[in-house]
């Protein structure tokens, strides 16, 4: 199969995390850092899954709670709440997930085509499925998801490739 998007090459590394009962993986090269959840500054007229903005060493970075967006997991904020800070198209975005599990190395052969339904994500944002240690992992096209109009993080999703 030919995975959508260009980010999948042979034997790439992926960061896996949990959202609700499912395991997801994203290209590790998009991950800037992983940090604990800290209090955010709320922004008016934002959907509930956009928690607000934080100060990441001088950058004002929006925080998206994927648990709220996809209606999974227990939405609580404590010292164990994890934020994955992503670097997408020269933008920085933090996503809140239930937990970070592991870094896995996957090659093309291990990938299976994604199902059309049955996971929280629209199949548009899925690259495929893989099985690691007898667990199913869903590969997410995080670039596509974060810059999607559905999340509405950026003004013009089409133009996010342009650096600011």
């Amino acid at each position: 199969m030919e995975p959508a998007g260009t980010s999948v090459n042979i034997a790439q590394e992926y960061l896996t995390f949990t959202l609700g009962d499912e395991n997801y993986a994203i290209d590790i090269l998009t991950v800037k850092e992983i940090r604990g959840y800290e209090s955010v500054t709320k922004i008016a007229n934002a959907p509930p899954f956009i928690k607000g903005v934080i100060n990441l060493r001088g950058d004002i970075v929006p925080i998206v709670d994927l648990r709220i967006k996809f209606d999974v997991g227990n939405v609580t904020y404590d010292e164990f709440t994890i934020v994955i800070v992503l670097h997408i198209h020269s933008r920085i975005v933090g996503i809140v997930v239930d937990g970070v599990s592991d870094v896995v190395s996957l090659d093309k052969e291990q990938l299976r085509p994604p199902p059309d339904f049955g996971v929280a994500f629209n199949s548009r944002y899925l690259l495929g499925l893989a099985t690691v240690n007898e667990q199913m992992i869903i590969l997410v096209d995080i670039n596509e998801l974060i810059s999607s109009e559905e999340l509405g993080l950026f003004d013009t999703p089409a133009a996010t490739g342009a650096s600011l």
């Binding site: 209090s39 955010v40 500054t41 709320k42 922004i43 008016a44 007229n45 934002a46 607000g52 903005v53 934080i54 100060n55 060493r57 001088g58 950058d59 004002i60 970075v61 929006p62 933008r91 920085i92 975005v93 509405g152 993080l153 950026f154 003004d155 600011l164």
Partner: protein, 670 residues
């Protein structure tokens, strides 16, 4: 020499741009009655440097024009031809065209060869005016201007240390030691002449016409009357590049001084690299990155101070000492880094002699332009954005302010009007004023015009209120529209531009005596003076320029309208109340305006009372972009990082006003 020439193009473009600006400046300063030889030499050198570089890089259009200019200039400075006003005009015109050509090369655009030919013809015509010998030169340059240089060199004035360097290469090679035996000549010559005349001599040498024999130079020099040497120096001193008279100055001068090659080449013997290293070109992005990083250090430092307060005992004391030391150092670093972005305001002011000259000729008025405080430093971003509003104001003063010479005579004034451009730093602000000694603003005409345009005015308004009316969109009292000003689009744009820089503009005017426009600007773009207000657990910043006053309103002054809208009654005026917690969708401490604080806010178009929980305090904040990683949010101009590391949003009062738009208009009607 196999060097990739591309890498030098940018340097050449930058340097040529500077040379052209220098030329323009010198041409404007030039006294036609009594032209200063050193100035002519500097103009010549600028033209020559551009020509040299264009030859190397094959920029023929630049090369051919500068070559003819050079020939003409050479004649003038040798006294073979007297300079007249029309020549200065022609030169200025040429400088403009050269700038266009330079721009074309820089952007890879098509060169307007027809215009180049036309200009060359024009210049040649003037050059050929007297001397047939020069025509040969003109012919040669048609082929390939650059190689005609040696002919010029042999008879030219200052040249023997200049030419070998400039011809072989271009500016950035300058500091290579000259291949010829010029240094030896130069040193003995300088020493010899120093003994005679002291350091003024260096200016004299270029103005002389020595041959390549060094003793002839020193023999020649005493013939020059010393009085004129001192004159030379005095008259050229306003232009910093001309005032290079001693070694110390040469070292400390920025690299545009490198244009003065004779002076520089003396330097070469001792410290070849000094001039080059005294200033470097740096990408603004790198400087901005540095500024951002320093901003981070400042924040981290204040967070650390906060933490230090929770320490106890002897350790706390030690920590405090170290923390204080660090605080002082970071503050110094911050100031130093900020100063990198600072440019003297003369970068803006220097274009005005030209504007005034062109305009006064066009309008047939006699106008002197005085410039004060050109050395005041301003953020680079600000200087760039100041150009348009200032140009508008200066044009305005000349067109509407200064009367014609006849009228001025009738009124018993000096027929020559004066426009004064002044910059000064006052505390954390830069104040730039444009003063003219013209007729002043006409109160009656402005009021009549305002009524005509249905602009609301109070009864018997104060002068200041009347003057502010001219900033209303579409307002112009000019009796007729000229192509200089009077389309009524100017002043509101000026005010908007100034406000977008976080500044404000005041007018003072006296009938018959003139008007003064004063622009107050913050020192830098990245910082705004703000009032911190709190709503619930969050802090917001209101830009101070928009705040009229803050108060705790009494319940009796609050009038409730339908649909939860409230008005605040202050001194016989009604201000619509805008609860910030409602706009920002937050839980606030208070829901009744009489319990909290209202901040009266006035923008160009609207005014309203912002209802918040409490005032936290006034402080300067560094503006951070929210759009960089998120998107534009209505009512928010940006964000900043507070001392504790948390993010506070900076309110955009103009767009906040839109959310109370309806009630505002209602209030204005009532």
């Amino acid at each position: 020499m196999s060097i990739d020439m591309q890498q030098f193009h940018t340097v050449f473009f930058d340097e040529s741009q500077e040379h052209l600006e220098e030329m323009e400046q010198l041409l404007l300063d030039l006294d036609i009655e009594n032209p200063d030889l050193e100035m002519l030499n500097s103009i010549f050198r600028a033209a020559h440097s551009i020509k040299g570089g264009s030859g190397i890089f094959g920029f023929d259009a630049l090369g051919s024009v500068t070559h003819i200019m050079e020939s003409l200039l050479d004649k003038i400075r040798k006294g073979q031809m007297a300079i007249v006003a029309s020549m200065v005009d022609l030169f200025l015109n040429s400088v403009d065209q050269l700038k266009d050509i330079l721009h074309c090369y820089r952007c890879g655009e098509e060169i307007d060869w027809a215009a180049v030919q036309r200009l060359s013809k024009e210049l040649e015509l003037v050059t050929a005016g007297k001397n047939s010998q020069q025509e040969e030169l003109a012919e040669q340059q048609q082929g390939y201007g650059f190689f005609a240089t040696p002919e010029v060199v042999t008879e030219e004035a200052f040249g023997f240390f200049d030419e070998p360097v400039a011809d072989d290469s271009f500016g950035f090679f300058d500091d290579l030691p000259p291949i010829s035996d010029a240094p030896a000549n130069a040193s003995s010559q300088t020493l010899a002449s120093d003994a005679v005349f002291g350091f003024f001599e260096e200016l004299l040498i270029p103005t002389q016409a020595p041959t390549t024999e060094h003793h002839s130079a020193s023999e020649n020099s005493p013939e020059k009357p010393s009085a004129s040497i001192i004159d030379t120096r005095a008259s050229s001193s306003p232009t910093p590049t001309n005032a290079v008279t001693d070694d110390e100055k040469i070292i400390s001068l920025p690299d545009r001084a490198a244009a003065i090659k004779p002076a520089v080449s003396k330097q070469k013997q001792n410290e070849p690299a000094t001039v080059e290293s005294s200033s470097i070109r740096v990408d603004v992005a790198k400087v901005d990155q540095l500024i951002n990083l320093v901003g981070e250090i400042v924040i981290t430092q204040s967070m650390m101070n906060l933490l230090g307060k929770s320490l106890e005992g002897a350790l706390a004391e030690k920590f405090q000492t170290v923390a204080n030391e660090l605080e002082r150092n970071t503050r110094e670093i911050q100031e130093a880094v900020m100063s990198i972005r600072m440019l003297p305001v003369s970068f803006v002011f220097n274009r005005f002699p030209r504007v005034v000259r062109d305009l006064s000729t066009k309008l047939g008025k006699q106008i002197d332009l005085l410039i004060e405080g050109g050395e005041t430093e301003l953020d680079k971003g600000l200087t760039e954005k100041l150009v348009d509003p200032l140009t508008h104001l200066v044009r305005n003063s000349i067109d509407h302010g200064i009367e014609s010479a006849e009228v001025r005579r009738e009124r018993g004034k000096n027929p020559t009007g004066t426009v004064l451009l002044r910059a000064a730093q006052q505390g954390g602000n830069i104040v730039i004023s444009i003063r003219d000694d013209g007729g002043g603003l006409n109160r009656e005409r402005i009021l009549a015009k305002a009524r005509e345009n249905n602009i609301p005015i109070s009864e018997n308004p104060r002068d200041e209120e009347v003057w502010q009316l001219i900033f209303a969109p579409g307002f112009s009292t000019a009796a007729e529209v000229t192509d200089v000003s009077g389309r009524g689009v100017g002043m509101d744009v000026v005010k908007r531009n100034v406000q977008s820089l976080g500044g404000r503009i005041d007018i003072e005017s006296r009938a018959g005596e003139g008007a003064t426009f004063t622009i107050h600007l913050p020192l830098t773009l990245a910082i705004v003076d703000g009032m911190c207000v709190s709503v619930g657990s969050q802090t917001f910043i209101v830009p101070l320029v928009h705040i009229v006053e803050s108060m705790q309103p009494s319940a009796a002054d609050i009038k409730t309208l339908a649909a939860n809208d409230q008005l605040l009654h202050v001194r016989n005026e009604y201000w619509p109340i805008l609860p910030l917690h409602r706009v920002m969708q937050l839980d606030s401490q208070f829901t009744d305006a009489s319990e909290g604080i209202v901040v009266l806010i006035e923008t160009t178009k609207y005014r309203f009372a912002l209802f918040v929980d409490a005032l936290v305090g006034q402080q300067q904040v560094v503006i951070k972009s929210l759009e960089k990683h998120y998107k534009r949010v209505q009512g928010i101009a940006g964000a900043t990082i507070m001392g504790d590391g948390s993010v506070a949003l900076i309110l955009d009062v103009e767009s906040l006003a839109l959310s109370v738009n309806d009630s505002v208009q209602m209030a204005a009607a009532g």
